[in-house]
């Protein structure tokens, strides 16, 4: 075999090895929101890692709802299982996942398996197993704060496993700040005022969603989206009335039925009758 021939055969072999690992064109799942889909070039890629950061720890509930919505868009409407891994600490601090609440988002709790694990290490180890199982539809890995174990290597390992098995991974990060990772997209979610229903009742779930980064496409984008359970899609919420921080919310309530407004303490009940603060 001549030198050129052997070089050629080596090249084909390397190409074969690389193709096995090469990123095949991912299946895109549209979010239903025109602006987001345009920015993503069609939708969210399946079989990839997507990171969702809660803007503040208090936004944990919002971010969980957004993740449930994403999971539905990623194919859980029809089939598949959602595996949601979290720490015991998260369960205590942020409240446990409430099945009737998942039903209200449109997710069937019968198709959800939750893992409540003692520490971030156990979460990541279990995640490695879950992501390797192609029968899992979507895996949600909820991590609080910034565990040392979740470095670039760990996130790359997850991304590779997800590409091989086709499981879509959503890393839900709470009380953490974005850091380099192998994720396909990175989002930041915070609560947004909902479009009020009749009698000024809170409306459908609404979020302010920011696309911090995505691979291979320009990043950036900031939308206010609303969740439509009936069609299981995200919709534009910009039509909803804006309510700035500390806007005159009381004005709305001031018109509410009159009565005395009293403080109620969270501590031990006071013996003396509470002082009258304001007579409506």
């Amino acid at each position: 075999m001549s030198r050129a021939d052997s070089l050629e055969s080596l090249k084909t072999r390397i190409a074969g090895i690389e193709r096995a690992r090469a990123v095949e064109a991912a299946v895109l799942a549209g979010t239903g929101h025109a602006g987001i889909d345009a920015a993503l070039g069609g939708g969210l890629a399946r079989g990839r890692v997507h990171e969702v950061f809660a803007a503040q720890a208090e936004d944990a509930g919002c971010a969980a709802g957004f993740v449930a919505g994403l999971a539905l868009r990623l194919g859980l409407r029809l089939d598949g299982t959602l595996v949601w891994l979290r720490e015991i600490q998260a369960e205590k601090q942020g409240g446990r996942l409430h099945a009737p609440g998942l039903v209200e988002i449109g997710l069937d709790p019968a198709r959800v398996i939750i893992g409540v694990l003692p520490d971030p290490q156990a979460v990541l180890r279990a995640a490695a197993d879950v992501v390797r199982c192609p029968e899992v539809g979507v895996a949600v890995i909820e991590l609080w704060r910034e565990p040392r174990l979740l470095d670039l290597t760990a996130s790359r390992r997850l991304a590779l496993a997800a590409e091989t098995s086709g499981v879509t991974v959503i890393a839900l990060r709470i009380a953490a700040s974005p850091s380099p990772s192998a994720a396909q997209t990175r989002w930041q979610v915070s609560a947004a005022a909902s479009a009020p229903m009749e009698a000024n009742a809170p409306g459908y779930p609404a979020w302010r969603v920011e696309l911090l980064r995505q691979r291979g496409r320009p990043s950036g984008g900031d939308w206010r989206v609303e969740w439509n359970r009936e069609q299981a899609c995200f919709a534009n919420a910009d039509t909803a009335s804006d309510c700035g921080p500390d806007a005159g919310g009381f004005a709305a309530i001031a018109a509410a039925p009159s009565g005395a407004v009293l403080p109620f303490s969270a501590g031990r009940p006071v013996d003396a009758p509470p002082r009258l603060r304001h007579a409506g």
Partner: protein, 495 residues
């Protein structure tokens, strides 16, 4: 029985003492002390007066029981049916086991050899009923041959019946000193004079009434064992032997059309210590490869690793729980395969992380929010349940995160039943911009005794604060009718 960790010289009489109504009294004695006339119940001061050189240790019944439990674990190698007869005896049901050891006498010799490692004061006996065996062990003089069990039993004193002391004294006064004396008499007059219990214990002792032991563990549905002539010193080799047993088990299970839901691999170390590896599966299974993967997971996850020490001389694979398992038919869409793959993932994670770590939701018919949904171990719950559909066109009525217990908040609210205006939760102030409610959820009055307060009514509000966060908060108790100043709580967070 002398504890192994007791370091007094062997020839010193040993007594265990406990405090009875302020006085130190002997609770148990060793054989030398007993030979010197020291008995349980004697005051320690009196005992010291009789025998000045006396080793005294505190009586610890819990440690005794733990020791007995360990010995019972060791006896598991002779028969799966082992019972503890507190405070100082073990009963082994050897029905159908003796032939494995070549008969009752060789089995007894085997047990004696085995027990000699821990104690030089073990009394053993074999009997037709558990009571007979105990009576022979406790009361038959040493060196009695058990050729004629009935004759030996008849020579035992009435104390062997283990009846109340008063009855014993009454029997002896009546001249009935041995079991034989009693057995000769008709039972009706005995029952009339000494009570029904006496006749019952006599019948059980002599085997005319049926009597069984209550084993610590139920006998497994299937078990497979391997004994080694030479102890094997490596855990890997033991696991390989377990693998062979798993294959045997798979063959038997397949013949019966069954699959196991629970498997226990037990390692018997030659010095008597035992280790268990237990695993569970959410679907019945018999595939030896899958089983071995689960057991290896369990082995890797053990907090207290399996230490072969001087080697294992026996291993056993028990299948305590079996369920029908028909050969699976492949579906065209692959639904069956997907279910099985998910079940396997759940089994693997549950085996490694504990059965409570991987859970599924289960609906409950309760209007109390925290009881409406349970999370149960996923290995227990293979069949998914149906959930109520939400109301069309309405925003979510239940939060995605639920706090249990609810978190107390400071609230400024309208009285008597108005909505909250603002509240303070986790050191930050929230101004309520929108609200809906109240949704009144009453306490479960039907679960409480009449006349007693069933608990407070909760008035739930869905509120949204100025920054767009949605909370589920409630007032615990109706203002003034139930409570003068009801407390407020955050119960959940909406998406």
């Amino acid at each position: 029985m002398r504890h192994p960790d007791c370091d007094t010289p062997d020839d010193t009489p040993l007594v265990l003492v406990e405090k009875v109504r302020g006085a130190m009294r002997i609770a148990a004695t060793c054989s030398q002390a007993a030979a010197l006339g020291l008995n349980a119940g004697l005051a320690l001061a009196d005992a010291r007066a009789q025998v000045p050189l006396l080793a005294v240790t505190d009586h610890d019944p819990a440690a005794d029981l733990a020791w007995l439990e360990r010995l019972a674990d060791h006896c598991d190698r002779f028969t799966p049916l082992v019972a503890i007869e507190a405070p100082d005896a073990l009963a082994l049901d050897i029905t159908g086991c003796a032939h494995l050891f070549g008969g009752e006498a060789p089995l007894l010799a085997d047990v004696a050899r085995f027990m000699a490692r821990w104690s030089d004061d073990v009394r053993l006996a074999c009997g037709d009923t558990p009571e007979a065996a105990q009576a022979l062990a406790r009361f038959a003089p040493a060196g009695t041959s058990f050729e004629s069990e009935d004759a030996t039993l008849r020579r035992l004193p009435v104390a062997a019946l283990r009846i109340e002391e008063e009855t014993q004294t009454a029997l002896i006064r009546a001249g009935l000193k041995t079991i034989g004396d009693l057995a000769m008499r008709p039972s009706a007059p005995l029952a009339a004079r000494f009570g029904e219990d006496l006749v019952d214990s006599l019948d059980r002792l002599l085997g005319t009434a049926d009597s069984r032991i209550t084993p610590r563990r139920a006998a497994p549905a299937l078990r497979f064992e391997r004994r080694f002539a030479e102890p094997i010193g490596r855990t890997e080799a033991a696991m390989a032997a377990i693998g062979e047993l798993a294959e045997e088990a798979a063959v038997v299970l397949e013949q019966r059309g069954m699959g196991g839901r629970r498997f226990i691999a037990r390692f018997f170390r030659s010095d008597g210590r035992t280790y268990d590896l237990a695993t569970e599966s959410s679907l019945p299974m018999r595939d030896p490869d899958v089983l071995m993967r689960l057991l290896n997971e369990r082995l890797a996850a053990l907090a207290d690793p399996v230490d072969p020490g001087f080697g294992f001389d026996m291993i056993r694979l028990a299948v305590p729980r079996i369920e029908p398992l028909t050969p699976a038919q492949l579906q065209l869409e692959g639904g069956c395969v997907a279910d099985e793959a998910m079940a396997e993932l759940v089994d693997r994670l549950s085996t490694r992380l504990g059965r409570g770590a991987i859970r599924r939701f289960e609906p409950r018919d309760s209007h109390v929010p925290e009881q409406a949904a349970l999370t149960l171990p996923a290995v227990d719950l293979p069949a998914p349940a149906a959930w109520d559909a939400p109301q069309q066109g309405e925003p979510p009525a239940r939060p995605i995160h639920l706090f249990d217990p609810p978190q107390p908040i400071e609230v400024i609210a309208e009285v008597p039943d108005g909505p909250p205006h603002r509240f303070r939760w986790r050191r930050s102030q929230h101004h309520v911009v929108r609200f809906e409610g109240p949704e009144r959820i009453a306490a479960q009055w039907w679960k409480h005794a009449p006349g007693k307060s069933p608990g407070l009514t909760r008035d739930y509000y869905r509120v949204e604060d100025a920054r767009g966060r949605r909370f589920w908060i409630f007032r615990h108790g109706l203002y003034e009718t139930e409570k003068p100043d009801p407390r407020w709580y955050v119960h959940g967070l909406f998406a």
